[in-house]
Amino acid sequence: MGPTNRAFTLITRGQRFGSTPVRNLTFTILWAPPVTLLPEAELAHIGLTLMTSPPKSSFVLSHRHLLGIEGLSAADITGLLDLGEEFVTLNRQVEKKQTSLRGRTQINLFFEVSTRTQASFELAGKRLGADVMNMSASSSSMRKGETLIDTAITLNAMHPDIIVVRHHASGAVELLASKVNCSVINAGDGSHEHPTQALLDALTIRRNKGRIEGLLVAICGDITHSRVARSNIMLLNAMGARVRVVAPSTLLPPGIERMGVEVARDMREGLADADIVMMLRLQRERMNGSFIPSVSEYFHYWGLDERKLSYAKKDALVMHPGPMNRGVEIDSIVADGAQSLIREQVEMGVAIRMAVLEALSRNLPNA
């Protein structure tokens, strides 16, 4: 991602540099072309004319990959949300098929099991007309000990246009992105980032509250192990929301307060005045040793039930990235209640992934 992908290399021969003759001196100039000059933009325009109901938004993401929320500007995020909004409408129609990714190959490379993320990326790609291939770690050479980089090089040789990657190690997606020529979308890397989740959460919030700026969002639960929390903290901060994290100290990574969040350790204090209560899944599979004494104590103090939800604003809305542990971090009455946006989040997931695919595809080379 970023400028190095678009670097020009100037090679000068026989020039003198100081008093020493220099041969093959290499200058690397980091240069990112203005968006308006990109040939891809023209291509995208051609693509638009082929669509049955083309998105009105002509937004182009000024990045080749989507590796995280970090690095996105407020304008990038707003552009993606606007685009997503158009796909929400499309997805509610009978005819959902688009052609903007026609001829493109999308590989969903999942090193970690996933239901909703993989399914929604697959649907998103197919609705945009791409050929979608799903690969999971359990049924491939990765099982046979192939390294991540070898897998990347192998897949790259098959000329995919977009690879969607989920991996259990933080930073793995970025590593893979540096070894391939196509666009890479991070579908979750370890405890680092899950950008499409944060974007779909933002779209859900914006549709229900009309804005993001100025809202108080309480993110509650297992912050330490959550990539959803990190992506959301960055996105919400970029969009001008107030973010508060609420968790027992053992589930708060040291230094979290320097990520632009307020920190609370009990729900009464943490949910006070909250517009949005975002619950996180207790990720016991990532826990090495005991971070909390028991599920029952965790639910007693940090699980969202009706009593604790009453500490938040009256019109507060409840979110959860799923899959939920009912009775661990959230009570069924709340999860299925009137204030819950959990099902809408899933719907937004498909739309926002279409938006991301669409925006990145507008940058793809026409080769």
Binding site: S249, F291, I292, P293, S296, E297
Partner: protein, 435 residues
Amino acid sequence: MKMLSERRPILLANARIIDPSRDLDIVGDLLIADGMIREAKRGIGAAGVPEGTEVIDCRGKVIAPGLVDMRAFIGEPGAGHRETFASASQAAAAGGVTTIICQPDTSPVIDDPATVDFVLRRARDTAIVRVHPMAAITKGLHGKEMTEIGLLKAAGAVAFTDGDKSIVNAQVMRRTLTYARDFDALIVHHTEDPDLIGDGVMNEGEFAARLGLLGIPNAAETVMLARDTRLVGLTGGRYHAASVTCAESLEVLRRAKDAGLAVTASASINHLTLNEIDIGPYRTFLKVSPPLRAEDDRRALVAALAEGLIDVVMSDHNPQDVETKRLPFAEAAAGAIGLETMLSAGLRLVHAGEVELPALLRAMSTRPAELLGITGGTLRSGAPADVIVIDIDEPWLVDPNELKSKCKNTPFDEARMTGRVVRTIVAGRTVYEAL
């Protein structure tokens, strides 16, 4: 609680009143009514009291807050043959202890709220002094998974400890301190590295060498305490060293306190008044954990108590019956009873001029009550009337047959003492009175 006398108002007249919670040391009278302390001042006199008040002329004896013993093992549940709440509380009352903090290393372990509830109910029904349990830090005392600290505290656990077991895994200790901080729970830790203890049974040094017993170095304790203080610095938890015994540990403690960490410490009455040489001919009643140390360490400990570096003095009451004590030294169980003799043994230090009486009483009542966040340890008006009357000069001989504890494993067997409790009052009722 069982009543030894009706709950009439009591005036304790003509006494030296020592209240460490207010740095008060005056000659005067103390009025108790409705289970509360009404007032403590000069010259209340028999005229200024309600009708029917029992007036007791103390004749210059000392009145102090009842003692709060921060570390005592009671057999219930699971080892009622060693001690019950009833027998322990009788011993406590005779020793001036009005609040016992019982330890969780019972069977079953006190590591879930239901067991805390059992202990509180059982004590309420059978004990004549107050009893508060500490709960386990880790489930089953295995040192691996932390217990339900929030729910246990809500059920009535006043602090958390794994008894005489140390938590070897530093990550478990770190997480526990971090988690406990959210509940302002006090972690009380026995600091002895089990690997450094090895097969040791007494203090390492010349005396152990002469006896042919394997030694336990001071470092076994200091290494663990140093680790813990670093973890307290990392986590911001509230920490109490359960039993500090040697000079090196005092240095670690001093550094932690100077750095402003929430670190406090106890010393047992055994380590303040006895040393390794008292073991003599393999006397198993003097086998305790941590082991009795060298005289230099004992003196350093006493000096630390006098200056307040040691916060709490506790009995480390640990009843062991003949089956576990009448064995070769290395095979005998560690532990000594102490509820009944703690104050008298502490008075040795006062009579020797090493510790002031108010400082001793502070470490045995006011400080533990403060650290645990419980009532007691004060003679302020309105506080529950847990009060003791001490004759600090009465000579007596410790006769094991007269001790009220079920087990007789006292290290002060046949020892001469100067000074003892003559009356113990809990919640306004006299629960012990010397004949």
